[in-house]
Symmetry: D2
Subunit: 341 residues, 4 copies
Amino acid sequence: MQLGMIGLGRMGADMARRLSKGGQQCIVFDVQPAAVQRLQQEGMVGASSLDDLVARLAKPRAVWLMVPAAVVDSTLEKLVPLLEPGDIVIDGGNSHYHDDIRRGGELGARKLHYVDVGTSGGVAGRERGYCLMIGGEKDIVKHLEPVFVALAPGVAAAQRTAGRQEDDSTAEQGFLHCGPQGAGHFVKMVHNGIEYGMMAAYAEGMNILHHANAGNQSREIDAETSPLRDPQFYRYDLNLGDIAEVWRRGSVISSWLLDLITGTLSRDGDLKDYAGRVSDSGEGRWTIDAAIDEGVPAPVLSAALFSRFTSRGEADFANRVLSAMRKDFGGHAEKSGSSTG
Amino acid sequence: MQLGMIGLGRMGADMARRLSKGGQQCIVFDVQPAAVQRLQQEGMVGASSLDDLVARLAKPRAVWLMVPAAVVDSTLEKLVPLLEPGDIVIDGGNSHYHDDIRRGGELGARKLHYVDVGTSGGVAGRERGYCLMIGGEKDIVKHLEPVFVALAPGVAAAQRTAGRQEDDSTAEQGFLHCGPQGAGHFVKMVHNGIEYGMMAAYAEGMNILHHANAGNQSREIDAETSPLRDPQFYRYDLNLGDIAEVWRRGSVISSWLLDLITGTLSRDGDLKDYAGRVSDSGEGRWTIDAAIDEGVPAPVLSAALFSRFTSRGEADFANRVLSAMRKDFGGHAEKSGSSTG
Amino acid sequence: MQLGMIGLGRMGADMARRLSKGGQQCIVFDVQPAAVQRLQQEGMVGASSLDDLVARLAKPRAVWLMVPAAVVDSTLEKLVPLLEPGDIVIDGGNSHYHDDIRRGGELGARKLHYVDVGTSGGVAGRERGYCLMIGGEKDIVKHLEPVFVALAPGVAAAQRTAGRQEDDSTAEQGFLHCGPQGAGHFVKMVHNGIEYGMMAAYAEGMNILHHANAGNQSREIDAETSPLRDPQFYRYDLNLGDIAEVWRRGSVISSWLLDLITGTLSRDGDLKDYAGRVSDSGEGRWTIDAAIDEGVPAPVLSAALFSRFTSRGEADFANRVLSAMRKDFGGHAEKSGSSTG
Amino acid sequence: MQLGMIGLGRMGADMARRLSKGGQQCIVFDVQPAAVQRLQQEGMVGASSLDDLVARLAKPRAVWLMVPAAVVDSTLEKLVPLLEPGDIVIDGGNSHYHDDIRRGGELGARKLHYVDVGTSGGVAGRERGYCLMIGGEKDIVKHLEPVFVALAPGVAAAQRTAGRQEDDSTAEQGFLHCGPQGAGHFVKMVHNGIEYGMMAAYAEGMNILHHANAGNQSREIDAETSPLRDPQFYRYDLNLGDIAEVWRRGSVISSWLLDLITGTLSRDGDLKDYAGRVSDSGEGRWTIDAAIDEGVPAPVLSAALFSRFTSRGEADFANRVLSAMRKDFGGHAEKSGSSTG
């Protein structure tokens, strides 16, 4: 079917390519003309403006937004007046599901349909396919199925799950209508929350392995520092690339994330190219917000989120409070060295 | 090659089967004669006692222990006097690596070789192969390679890692000599620590999804309980089996653990067969011990471990302290109902 | 000065008593006539309705709400139409500071003044005085100072802080104008977040002391359970009441919370009267929400909050997911007993 | 009574002074002659060597060690041969209670008595008195009571606990015989674990207050960064010194730690003199080790400990793993700026 794609950054452009390869017709637009031209050179139809995009689409139109969450509303402000009752807007970016519910209501008042799609897959998605979590009206989601089929990985991408009954769910194809508006981004949000937790689990474990030679380093003796009681237990120089590789086969913790990090660790076991300032794009935060609203404990997912904040220096003031307290009650001066037991 | 296998529980028996299928000769023994008989009926050679086992093995003997960690030392006490210099003992169970270092020294004093093997793979390992993390003397590990090859999944079990250089590491085959004695169980220990973290990440995420309909439940109003501020955001009835299934293809959080839980959630999305008392077999604890010794933070892995303790009621006294404090300063009586915001 | 007090529950009634004792005139009202009568018998002026309350107050009126957060808005709906420009409404309950900002705007549009007061002190406050954290317009807060002085503990309640400069802050008296509308409840919110963390610190520590005799209990040996490696280190039967008492003098962790729990632990070291279902009234949640919005890590405060959720059974589904996974990959059946290592 | 004091650092010298002032006779020794001379000038008897110290003490001798945990064993190696059956050695430093149990056994074999004393109070202890947690043989602890009385704060240091029965416990005086050897340092260890948790609770809360003006800072918009959804809620410039001060009177979170930090925050609300590298001297670690051994959850205390590790850069490698993963799956380049949402 025909689809207008707005936003041709890394994700949007690759999704347009996968859609085209999958036999769907994409009319593409971006505020950066160069991004449109690139895809035109690959054979897609480019639009010169939102008006032009809308004019080129057959009714009922289907327009997919793949823009930063922060500019979805301003884009809709310009796009919506151009649309007509029955047209469909799909937000495939990283919107907060609260915004989906609000936008769904606003567009619905104009007889426009709003569908939210949480999209996972990253840069590998173009080849591997995208996992799509969808919220919206049932018949509209059904109407868009050719698009989802083209974007999703398909059943063959993984072994069938033993014991799953034959049903009408599309989950095995890699896309799923999760529920009403907002449900797609809600499920994607929790997906990312889980992702943070898994990533942190690997990262903490790798860090423990990385320091398995701590017993080979000498430490000074003073009243503030407890010596490493048993240095003889920490004399291992481990090859993290090999360890990640061996875990990829047969172990309980094999995963796609592990596959990814194995290549990097194999090339540079010390990860010297990275400084360790870890960004977060919102979903991890919203996952904890949702857990708190629901009254559901999320100690692991929140610890993973807070580790990212801390990696960016956001615990600094708290740490200064701790050092000041130690000075005040114990006369402890801060140490300038790195290893203080 | 020839191997004596002591301990024919779930793991030991399946490993003997995989070894036999892989062309290795297993002489098997267990304190339960029935366990020996079962494997004899499958064509393996059974031993009637430790003496018998040792007598049937060609020198230098290789004996693999697959017994509970708590009985390794008592087994060695009986086995070691029967062995001769040059013989090899392999502990493939869940021993603490501190014990490996001690046992390695004790056996070394008798000119016996000790190899520790951390084994991952669970009940699926018989078909899928076992991921083996190995510690010990380099030439002894090399000598045992046919055994490891037979047990491990082999290169074909996963896609090759892009960018890994050709090297002499066996990691791609699913087994790895990690370092000197104890290194195998050290790496396996951290593996399990990571496993706890990943499992908790999925579990917490699933719990948040499970309660996504919290806004549909009414809550009483009182001075102690804050109402759910925005019930309209929590009206989703989600199908966890379908969601797990859709994540298996194309998503960033696809993994073997997810594959496993998908079948179960597809059959029973409420997991009514489980009470939620979660055991832990030691490695998760030791991982945190190691992190603390190394001075390395492990907030996610420790939160995962503590969640298991708590699931078994071990926070009860702490919670009573909290309730008592609330009573003392605020006059708050404990509520007997379940949902108190 | 004269003050209307709406809401004569535990906190409201005691505050009216302290105000009266401090020379302020309270006109009191509650939807429960019996609550009004009780204070009338103590000599205060009671109002039979909101209209009556408003009629009895001299202009500009000052009305203090001490009602559950969930009914503040419905109370304001009835109260506000009765008021006149220049009148002051004070919310002394546990409102979310977002609501203060909204209400401040709504009342401001009617030329009414809105002041938010976070109140700490609990049942002891009547004698000990209340710690008041105040948000609102500077001159209005100044106008209400006699009320705050009467409610607050006063300078003599604690030793002067060495090194604090003489300034015009009222902090030493136990009340503080923290900033514009919402600032009072914001600071009170974080106060409660800290309170959760401190309470959890004591509770976890007490739990560790409570189990210091773990080595005296026998545990079965099996493949799933790691034995307590060193039972000889856990043979202490500790008297928690005595330990809390000794910490009250000279130790770094002496505090008012410790004072409180000491009495209870001295009477019943096992806290048999409590079940350990710990409520939370909102501020702890909002503290974490704020931390997340600000991008500030709060691993300790969030762990404390989540422990409360968990104490009420809200982790149950997550735990069932863990048990199911363990069954799926390891064939581990759930144990029904309590101690599984 | 007479006491030999070995180790005249900050704590040891002040304790000798308090003992002298309390009418006890101290013979003092330190490996640094200048430290001995200082106390001699204050009127105490100095010893020129361990032999000299032992020679000057009446039998049965009582010798108090106040030296870094790391040198207790080497000190005992020299001291013990000089002692005679019936003599008493007290370790008042920060020893691990495992070492107490071992040393108690070793000294007991020589008919020497070993007493472990966990000491809290810091630099304020000289004036305020020390909180003493004691482990050892009952009659020996009783024999030393004059020493403990002189060091402890005494009953008057705090209000009596309502409802505590008259008993023979010395807890109200600020010292307590907790149990057999090791029990003193065990209780002190958990005390410090609680201290870490309380300090972190304040520090995290202060950090949230410190960033309450986050809405006043502009942030760039891009696909990786979620904007602060509601900047209008974060426009408070709070005075942390005043807030700490107001909490000291009447609030639930008043404590000695809060008293201490108030002075510092009042002088410098930004704590510019501190870098935020927070040391830890061992007990916090051992508390978590004990919790894990006992199978008791300690999510708050462990989070507090790990925050300290992280403040010293020990999470860096884990963070690099996270950044590498984000690059691998999402093509996300690390940001060099500080605020990435």
